[in-house]
């Protein structure tokens, strides 16, 4: 019952953006089933986010992969109907720290662009997915400090996820205490990305940076070996 109150169109306000950088390990150890599962998971992520009216107009996703090189596979963009997920290939070694540094740099550039264009934005997310340990030449202490200060200074949120073979102790070491790294069940990237899209939908549907309940709704939806 509207009782005669206004129920027509709302003002043409643009949506505020949430930058999310997925930093994905595509080193040689991901060959075979893991990389196939990762590609399937990314497609699922696209389906789930593009199906949510608010998330699809607020969430800007960037895909960074790392192996012996770091590559920006897709720059920041809304996961709308026109978005195409790339087909990732596994090869090379594990330049994880280089990948994370590129993500931090990209997030900073995106935030500057938001500011220059007069946009307010949600605190960005950097999401790491890896199945191994970084190459020996990677500077762990440097990235650990960069992540801790970035999260403490509210520049970005950092979530790390490992699949079988990942050095979970190292992920815990570089993660901020506010979000412990999680280990996936096997290589079930499809369930993981369903969970991630659901979490991102909740975050981009919120308004005030409050803590969001991102726990999986049931055990079947839980991609992790322990509950978030």
């Amino acid at each position: 019952m509207s009782n005669g109150f206004y129920t027509e169109e709302t003002p043409q306000n643009y949506e505020q953006k949430c930058a999310c950088c997925l930093v994905l390990d595509v080193s040689g150890s991901m060959s075979g089933e893991p990389i196939n599962q990762l590609n399937e998971g990314l497609k699922q992520f696209l389906v789930e986010v593009s199906g949510d009216e608010t998330a699809s107009s607020r969430l800007e996703v960037q895909l960074i992969t790392f192996e012996s090189e770091v590559t920006i596979e897709k720059d920041f963009g809304l996961l709308d109907e026109e978005y195409q997920m790339p087909n990732l290939l596994a090869r090379g070694t594990t330049k994880m720290v280089d990948g994370l540094n590129k993500a931090i740099e990209s997030i900073e550039e995106r935030k500057n662009w938001y500011k220059e264009t007069g946009q307010t934005y949600y605190r960005p997310y950097i999401i790491l997915m890896t199945d191994g340990a970084p190459d020996g030449d990677q500077n762990i202490e440097q990235i650990k400090t960069a992540i801790k200060s970035g999260v403490d200074d509210k520049k970005f949120n950092f979530w790390a996820f490992g699949v079988e073979g990942a050095d979970m102790n190292l992920l815990k070491d570089i993660s901020h205490p506010e979000f412990s790294p999680q280990k996936l069940k096997g290589t079930d990237f499809v369930t993981f990305f369903k969970w991630l899209s659901s979490s991102m939908n909740a975050i981009t549907n919120s308004r005030d940076g409050e803590k969001i309940d991102i726990a999986p709704k049931s055990e079947g939806d839980n991609p992790f070996q322990i509950t978030v």
């Binding site: 019952m1 509207s2 009782n3 005669g4 109150f5 206004y6 129920t7 027509e8 709302t10 003002p11 043409q12 306000n13 643009y14 949506e15 505020q16 608010t54 935030k111 938001y114 500011k115 220059e116 264009t117 007069g118 946009q119 307010t120 934005y121 949600y122 605190r123 509210k154 549907n205 919120s206 308004r207 005030d208 940076g209 409050e210 803590k211 969001i212 309940d213």
Partner: protein, 272 residues
């Protein structure tokens, strides 16, 4: 003169069995309309913010009434801008002290009761506004023109604002309190928390030429035109309590987008 308003819980707080952190109070006292709304800061860090927002609105209503009793605020004569600024600084100090008292009563820090504040004092001749934080407020004059009462304080990131208890506000209140006076033929006034702004306020537009986003900070006239008319009609046929209940239902779920809003929502309208 009449004032209608309500605060309703958002979808997120409903889902987590939390309470509504917005509060509003309003009263017509000796021909002067007084509206107070406050939005609790939310999140675990500010776990008593709903108590903070309640304390803020109760205190500011009582303090303004006291100023009316002392004839410092009069219905027929607007305060000067410096006078209202001085009073606003005192109001902030008093509200902060009340919040500190509440915090001591329940054994917590004042910061856990963090909240914003909008206070509007109005007659048919003027509007006085005080703002600390975000949210929006405006008025319509007898010619049907709309105006905003202040520019909300917002940071770069969504939801970033200042609160009554914020250190920077306490240290530099003159920088973070927005106190304004408007002399005009007032027809209606309105105040809302940020949970309502996307639906009734022009606040995030895009300038094609400059390739930039900007905040027009203007009431959405078609929204207020119809709702003010409807409220006037309802008040003729229903009691004030029934009208407030109808208004509460409306901002809770009377528009498809209201139902989906995660944040708590407050919207108060005063009609001269």
């Amino acid at each position: 003169m009449e004032i209608i308003g309500a605060s309703v819980i958002g979808k997120k707080h409903l889902a987590t069995n939390s309470s509504c952190e917005d509060n509003c109070m309003f009263e017509i006292y000796k021909n002067i309309g007084i509206i107070a709304i406050s939005d609790g800061a939310g999140s675990n860090e500010y776990s008593f913010s709903e108590l903070g927002s309640l304390t803020a609105v109760e205190t500011v209503i009582n303090e303004v009434k006291y100023l009316v009793d002392r004839k410092i605020i009069r219905s027929k004569k607007i305060l000067s801008q410096p006078e209202w600024e001085k009073i606003s600084l005192k109001l902030h100090k008093t509200i902060y002290e009340k919040i500190c008292e509440k915090a001591i009563e329940i054994g917590t820090e004042a910061n856990t009761l963090s909240c914003t504040l909008i206070c509007i004092v109005f007659t048919k001749k003027y509007v006085l506004s005080l703002n600390i934080g975000d949210g929006r407020a405006g008025y319509r004059n007898s010619k049907g023109n709309y105006f905003s009462l202040f520019k909300p304080f917002q940071g770069d990131q969504v939801g970033m604002t200042v609160f009554i208890t914020s250190k920077i506000v306490l240290e530099n209140p003159e920088l973070y309190l927005s106190a304004n006076t408007f002399e005009d033929k007032i027809e209606s006034v309105f105040a809302l928390s940020d949970g309502m702004e996307n639906y009734c306020w022009e606040c995030n537009f895009y300038n094609e030429e400059e390739k930039k986003y900007y905040d027009p900070n203007m009431p959405f006239a078609t929204f207020f035109d119809q709702n003010i008319k409807t409220l006037k009609d309802l008040l003729k046929s229903k009691s004030k309590e029934e009208t407030i209940n109808a208004w509460r239902d409306y901002i809770d779920n009377g528009h498809p987008k209201f139902k989906e809003e995660q944040d708590d929502k407050t919207l108060v309208i005063g009609i001269v």
